[in-house]
């Protein structure tokens, strides 16, 4: 019997979450949201979602630009400011603290902390990287088949159903909408059965 380590920990979810986190980290957005999962779907090796999105002229470079615009203008799902900026308002230099931690305990000190019993119950905070927006949690970890997502197309459908205003703004900037994409994704997945 295979023991699941938690809800939504199937292979495709883990892979997409890791890619979404990388997209958020790359742009220093301070949170991982549905906007970043859209980028992860466009970059994923499973072409199902990418093909559906391509049918609406949504490509990875265009989507990256739209996500950057939406989040920098405060219309994303996450907090408007990242942890470094917030702590700077209190006079705390987060990059300096992170630098010191790495110098004292090694470059992977924080990752190791979260693999240890000490860090397991801590909130995922400023030293570790972005938080997960509630809309993204809903898309990936609730109201879903316990067996996991069969393809990236199913993840896309779940993402479109999450009610993310940030994703809606990104899709609008790309000339599309959740409703139009939902219809296309449903038809594509039905045809693939």
């Amino acid at each position: 019997m295979t023991r699941r380590t938690g809800p939504g920990r199937d292979q495709i979810t883990s892979r997409l979450m890791a890619a979404a986190r990388q997209e958020a980290d790359r742009c220093r957005h301070g949170y991982v949201g549905c906007e970043h999962l859209l980028l992860a779907l466009l970059a994923d090796k499973d072409p199902t979602a990418r093909d559906i999105l391509a049918g609406h002229k949504i490509t990875l470079p265009a989507a990256r630009g739209a996500v950057a615009d939406v989040i920098s203008s405060g219309r994303g799902d996450g907090p408007r400011w990242n942890a470094g900026d917030l702590l700077a308002t209190l006079g705390v230099d987060l990059p300096a603290i992170q630098h010191q931690m790495r110098a004292d305990y090694g470059p992977h000190a924080i990752d190791e902390l979260y693999r240890s019993p000490v860090g397991r119950r801590l909130p995922w905070g400023p030293l570790c990287g972005p938080h997960m927006a509630p809309e993204l949690k809903k898309a990936l970890f609730t109201e879903r088949d316990r067996a996991g997502f069969p393809s990236s197309g199913h993840v896309l459908l779940s993402l479109l159903d999450a009610g993310s205003s940030g994703l809606g703004a990104v899709l609008a900037a790309l000339g599309s909408s959740p409703d139009r994409l939902r219809l296309a994704a449903t038809e594509r997945l039905r045809a693939a059965r």
């Binding site: 917030l86 308002t89 924080i110 000490v118 860090g119 801590l122 905070g125």
Partner: protein, 77 residues
């Protein structure tokens, strides 16, 4: 308007949304720093009593926070 400028303006207007989010970020950062130091102290063989003393809290507080986490060394009783 850049993110940094809008944040500075919000802070200068004492926007509670920014202030509260900053406090939450600070709290999370302190929790992580504490856990990092506690982990290092246990790996160095520190007792729970010594850790509690250094943190300026009671042994019971340390117990509440960390007892159910399986640390190296002697369990808190």
């Amino acid at each position: 308007m850049s993110e940094a400028i809008s944040l500075a303006e919000a802070a200068s207007h004492r926007d509670p949304q920014v202030g509260l989010a900053a406090v939450a970020a600070l709290r999370q950062m302190v929790d992580q720093l504490e856990a990092l130091q506690v982990k290092a102290a246990r790996e160095d063989g520190w007792t729970w009593e010594r850790i509690a003393g250094a943190l300026g809290i009671t042994r019971q507080s340390v117990h509440r926070k960390y007892a159910s986490r399986r640390f190296p060394g002697r369990r808190i009783t």
